[in-house]
């Protein structure tokens, strides 16, 4: 569809329940090709679930999701595999394979997915590790030997290793010191600029959001309550957004602790 050609990712009215707990209540969202969307929102608001629905790791109950113009919710497993090949994903908990050394984690998609030989794949892996600030000797360690922040960076290196067209980052800077967080922010910006990748990033870190976003969307109670260019975020006229970006406990957003 020509009117869709500029949209790399589009979600329409996506609903998702777990048991009788409704998590997504009609999410509408889109990301233009080569743009960076940042999703903000409170803990447990369904940000990770939204990403997993786009990836196809979770099947939405109702609603439509298009990736590059193709409807993913009704895809055959072969088509889905082809779509997945253009994705990179950084998981919130890094999700490194602990049976493999760090470098093989980074090279996994190159070796298994793209059929590269181990030697070439290792070279690329070492280069990607360097870009996230890790030395080649880290590549020989097992993931269990790394700190949480290092695991996160390895996860990031793995997500970008195959130079995917669409990259999902689930809290890329959580657990990193402010300097490394900024290095990672730069890296994400570079990915978008150099690879022309389209990215969807989840973060709680407003400094990071301001740096990497073209657009920002806020998820609250299973819906997108605000979205727009990042320059508008300070004039959102939305009290939820204002409370969130100022990190104030007072405001319309009630955290579970207050209800309990």
């Amino acid at each position: 569809m020509s009117n869709q050609s500029n949209k790399m990712i589009a979600l329409q009215n996506v609903h998702k329940k777990f048991g009788n707990k409704s998590v997504l209540n009609g999410v509408n969202l889109s990301v233009d090709r080569g743009k960076s969307l940042v999703i903000i929102g409170g803990s447990g608001s369904g940000k990770s679930v939204t990403l997993k629905c786009v990836l196809g790791l979770l099947q939405p109950d109702t609603g439509a999701i298009q990736v590059n113009g193709n409807e993913t919710t009704t895809m055959s497993s072969r088509e889905r595999k082809k779509t997945l090949a253009s994705f990179g994903m950084l998981f919130q908990g890094a999700a490194l394979f602990d049976s493999l050394p760090v470098w093989e984690n980074v090279a996994f998609g190159l070796i298994q997915g793209k059929g590269l030989n181990k030697k070439d794949a290792k070279e690329i892996a070492v280069e990607k590790l360097r870009r996230v600030g890790l030395t080649p000797d880290v590549g020989e360690l097992s993931p269990a030997e790394l700190s949480g922040g290092m695991q996160k960076r390895v996860g990031l290196a793995r997500a970008i290793a195959a130079e995917p067209e669409i990259i999902f980052f689930d809290e890329p800077t959580t657990g990193l010191d402010p300097i490394m967080a900024d290095v990672i922010n730069d890296l994400i910006v570079e990915c978008v600029q150099d690879l022309g990748a389209t990215t969807m990033t989840i973060t709680h870190d407003m400094a990071s959001a301001r740096k990497i976003a073209d657009n920002i969307a806020m998820l609250y109670q299973g819906k997108i309550i605000w979205d727009g260019p990042k320059s508008d975020i300070d004039q959102s006229n939305n009290e939820y957004v204002e409370q969130f970006i100022h990190g104030s406990a007072q405001g319309p957003i009630e955290m579970d602790v207050f209800r309990a």
Binding site: K52, L55, G56, L57, K81, L84, A85, F87, G88, M89, F91, Q92, G93, A95, L96, F97, D98, F108, G109, Q112, G113, K114, R158, A162
Partner: protein, 260 residues
């Protein structure tokens, strides 16, 4: 007061649903075994883990069981002056039943639990999701190698167990019960038939498949963090035990079931 028939009905229905899920899982696994790619390195690694590491426990089980069996049959047989049947009964009992069943149960205790724990941890730490995003089918990469390895390895282990079990009987029979060594071996080989060995190996292969299937099924479908993995591990062992004993009964009835 809850209606007891309703409870029985619900338990029965949920058992049927579980059997249906296992059947679907088995079908999916079998399909992934025959379709390339085949991960030879994982298969060999699993064979090593299952086979070599289980040898001591399986060997000791067989040795002690064979020895105890010889002692019991000697005591029982001596009431009818039939001490000379000891070697024959020992070899039949070991090869037809005790070797495969005890070997299968011992390996199930070690291997089903380990597989469930490993795959369960991979599930709850999102490593299985990460595999999918790296264009790798978890059924082919994780489950097929385990099923293949266990199905190949168990017959080898049981063969060794059978030999050691007979040896256990021989040691007690000749060392303690005063049976003639060369007669013992002669009677053993007279009683043993090729069909006994074949059925023993078939049982072992089936049990190996069950061990890997139950470990994989419960691990792959686990949820809910460390507690969920613990539950999956227990369920894997219990269901492997019961399924092995049931399969043993079925095979025994089919192979030796001629009422005479």
């Amino acid at each position: 007061m809850p209606n007891p028939f309703a409870i029985i009905g619900r338990v029965f229905l949920s058992a049927l649903a579980e059997i249906g899920r296992i059947a679907t899982f088995t079908g999916h696994s079998l399909a992934s075994i025959i379709v390339p790619p085949i991960y030879w390195r994982s298969i060999l690694g699993q064979m090593w883990l299952i086979g070599y590491n289980s040898l001591p426990v399986v060997g000791l089980t067989a040795l002690f069981t064979g020895a105890a069996l010889a002692q019991q049959i000697f005591v029982g047989g001596s009431r009818f002056n039939a001490e000379s049947v000891v070697p024959g009964v020992v070899v039949i009992a070991i090869v037809r039943e005790l070797g495969p069943v005890l070997g299968g149960l011992m390996v199930a205790g070690r291997v089903s639990s380990a597989m469930a724990a490993e795959l369960g941890t991979m599930r709850v730490t999102e490593q299985i999701d990460a595999l999918v995003t790296l264009s790798t089918d978890p059924f082919k990469y994780l489950i097929a190698p385990r099923l293949i390895a266990a199905t190949i390895t168990l017959p080898v282990l049981v063969l060794v167990a059978n030999i050691i079990g007979v040896l256990g009987g021989y040691i007690i029979g000749t060392g303690r019960l005063g049976l003639n060594p060369s007669t013992y071996l002669q009677v053993t080989s007279d009683f043993l038939e090729q069909s006994d060995v074949i059925s023993s190996m078939v049982k072992a292969g089936v049990f190996g498949f069950i061990i890997a299937l139950m470990g994989s099924y419960h691990g792959y479908n686990s949820s809910g963090g460390a507690q969920g993995v613990g539950k999956a591990t227990t369920n894997a062992v219990v269901s492997a035990f019961i399924t092995i004993l049931l399969a043993n009964l079925i095979i025994t009835v089919i192979v030796f079931g001629g009422a005479s």
